[in-house]
Symmetry: C2
Subunit: 443 residues, 2 copies
């Protein structure tokens, strides 16, 4: 007579079952290891903030998508829509204790009431890192290196980090006396990969107020191609009359040369003056990361330099640079590339259990193998061998350890390789060593 409730998630939300979750944990762990290897420290901030902290910081679109409500204490609160705005608030609040320079990473879910078409979710995981409190180009170089080492370690095939400097386009616009329209120009250029040159030309003329020949020049600029050194040479000539443009070209050259000096392959980092990043707060270096095998999914790790992250909350100026790994977008990419491991268990070994009289012996055996560093699942009830092996096959254990009545009597164990189906019998006392030999090295 119970009134059952339909088990379901909200539209745009989803559960992660073990298979994608194991893959996501792997992404997060690799990113943590790389970020930590560069000295970024973990922090955490609440999911909920006062609405006034978040509102208006990401533009009209993000305000509209905010999960905002009144809490039981009558406070106007909202769920964070990114990790950058809470970090700005965090930095302003704690800079006295933290000191500068300060390097942090932060992984956590963010919420946006987006249109759920095109496989977008309303809750997704981001993983940011930032260095604040310095304007030195060293931080820009290391930011690119972090992104490089991250994708190198993730083993997701070839990738390119496209870099640019906001000031270069601004220098050009200054020379074209179009600097006031820079936001509109950026918005137009940001659409270039999607809508093509003709449509962008139209928008440059109509929204940014550029004469047609000036729009041509901007588009020619955005289509600049060549080696990094060739592009740098061309850019120097193009913006030589603008000091802000020149500073941008110098900085971009410093970043490219610094990254190269650190041993990164030329193919991995490419100057692309057409990348603009939609966000207003970037002021110098900007970067986007594309997977060679999946160019269409867009950038999977993006960031840049900002003059003043925390200016809305404090008078202390906190310049910095950072980037954000879109964990769930990358996870979707891995799924598409069929790079997700099909295992649904973290345990390499299944200890089969069929002699009910021997329960405590199985429990003790499994624990003994764990002490030797193995991850071991004990099937929790006595069942037929076939059912337990089918279970192991479905979960993805690598070997089954089988100790039946005969084996107990003889103090032996069978090790069954679940990929090949082959078995070997070893003395019970040698089980740790036999498993180590079989499982180490190629896990």
């Amino acid at each position: 007579m119970t009134n059952r409730i339909q088990p379901r998630t909200l539209k745009g939300f989803r559960d992660l079952l073990p298979e994608p979750m194991i893959a996501r944990e792997h992404l997060v762990n690799v990113a943590k290891r790389v970020y930590e290897s560069y000295g970024f420290s973990p922090i955490d901030t609440p999911a909920l903030e006062y609405t006034e902290i978040l509102l208006g910081k990401g533009g009209a679109e993000s305000d509209k998508q905010l999960y905002r409500f009144e809490d039981n204490g009558g406070r106007d609160v909202a769920l964070r829509f990114d990790l950058t705005v809470p970090f700005a608030r965090f930095a302003a609040q704690h800079v006295g204790v933290l000191g500068i320079p300060f390097k942090r990473y932060h992984v956590g879910p963010v919420w946006r009431g987006e249109n759920t078409q095109r496989g977008r979710y309303r809750e997704f995981l981001q993983f940011d890192f930032d260095t604040i409190g310095t304007t030195d180009i060293t931080a820009d170089i290391e930011t690119v290196l972090v992104v490089h080492d991250l994708f190198d370690a993730l083993d997701v095939g070839e990738f390119t980090i496209r870099i640019n400097d906001r000031r270069i386009l601004n220098g050009l616009l200054e020379q074209l006396t179009l600097l006031d329209a820079s936001a509109a120009v950026l918005r137009a250029l940001d659409k270039l990969p999607k809508v093509g040159a003709e449509a962008v030309h139209g928008e440059l003329v109509e929204s940014a107020g550029a004469p047609s020949d000036v729009a041509d020049q901007i588009l020619e600029f955005a289509s600049l191609r060549g080696t990094n050194d060739e592009i740098l040479d061309t850019l120097e000539g193009l913006v030589s009359a603008s000091s802000v443009g020149e500073r941008g070209v110098v900085a971009l050259g410093d970043v490219v040369r610094g990254v190269r000096a650190a041993g990164v392959a030329e193919s991995r980092v490419a100057i692309d003056v057409s990348i603009a990043r939609g966000l207003d707060y970037y002021t110098g270096t900007i970067l986007e990361t594309f997977l060679t095998d999946l160019p269409d999914i867009g950038s999977v790790c993006s960031g840049g330099r900002y003059d003043d992250l925390a200016g809305l909350y404090t008078s202390q100026r906190l310049p910095g640079i950072g980037a954000s790994l879109g964990v769930d977008r990358l996870l979707a990419a891995l799924d598409e590339l069929e790079l997700i491991d099909r295992r649904t268990t973290p345990a390499e070994v299944l200890v089969v259990y069929f002699d009910a009289e021997r329960r405590n012996d199985y429990v003790a055996l499994a624990r003994r193998l764990r002490s030797a560093g193995r991850s071991v699942e004990l099937y929790p009830e006595p069942r037929k061998l076939g059912a337990q092996l089918k279970y192991a096959d479905r979960r993805g254990h690598r070997v089954a350890v089988i100790v039946g009545t005969n084996e107990w009597a003889e103090s032996t164990a069978q090790i069954k390789d679940l990929a090949t189906g082959q078995s070997e019998t070893v003395p019970l006392g040698d089980l740790e060593a036999a498993l180590a030999q079989r499982l180490t090295g190629n896990s």
Copy 2:
């Protein structure tokens, strides 16, 4: 002229700065490692659920504390207040794909609009593990082993896991013809450590309707002390007339003997028939975990067996057993015991930067050391040595690598141990080996 917004968190919410966050990451990583070594797989569920999924599942108190609101699509939604109810919904929804038995772990924040006195937070991290789809006592034994191995690995001093079986008290109450009042008796007994025997006696008489001599018997039962074997002997006699009580005693004996057979020290697991756990859904084994050095903070890891986790959402019966580690409560305990590492950086090495002409050489050197497995922060701008060493001292790096103009000329580096202040000079080419020797083994 900017209207600055005061940077602050909501009442009952907090930021985690690097020091506590590094400690919390350590707790979470150790728990993950132990849970995975037993074959529990990670899952994730959304922070937001339909309110009907959550409402009424944790009792009136938890309904009142719910962060509940209407989303932009007019849905009645709420933030989860624990990880158990979402898991019940998850299990009901996906059991066909998952198959049983199914073992999962889940770490994530939960939200409760609690009274913020007594250092309670409104957002806190929980870390649950559960085995569902089996009634076999093997799962109960392994649950206790997981909790044991977790606290053993966490290195938080001595601890005791107190275990009990719900059916034993029910058996006693059946014999005392007080079974109908079992919920009221449980509620009264749950307060025993806080309010004492006399007050509980009063409540047993008034709320549970027990005659005074019956209340005496219940209190005598709850104060049962001795070795596990002694208590089991006594219990057998006490509930011999009740079949449910007997089943409880047999199960409790099986758990105690199984855990002992697996090699766990007798002092770590103690039968305590007074532990009751407030929650209604427990039906068999229950457990709580206490730190010997901090008995007053209460249980830091609790759980038990339930007959039917997902019955509200599906007709498939899903019995199981699990426990929940209160990560933030444990973190507070570690802080109180002064067991938190005072480092605020994950990097062992700070590469000092003072020769601006050599920027790319510093960047390349730092990256070279990372390739050798070290975590290395490069100070991001050229400053005086003293300022950079002060920074390292504050952050907690273990050594500074100093390469000044002379050292570059001579291809040497100074390694300065920041704890002892001692320095040694090594050839630049030997730096990896020298750091490995100094930093490995006692990190």
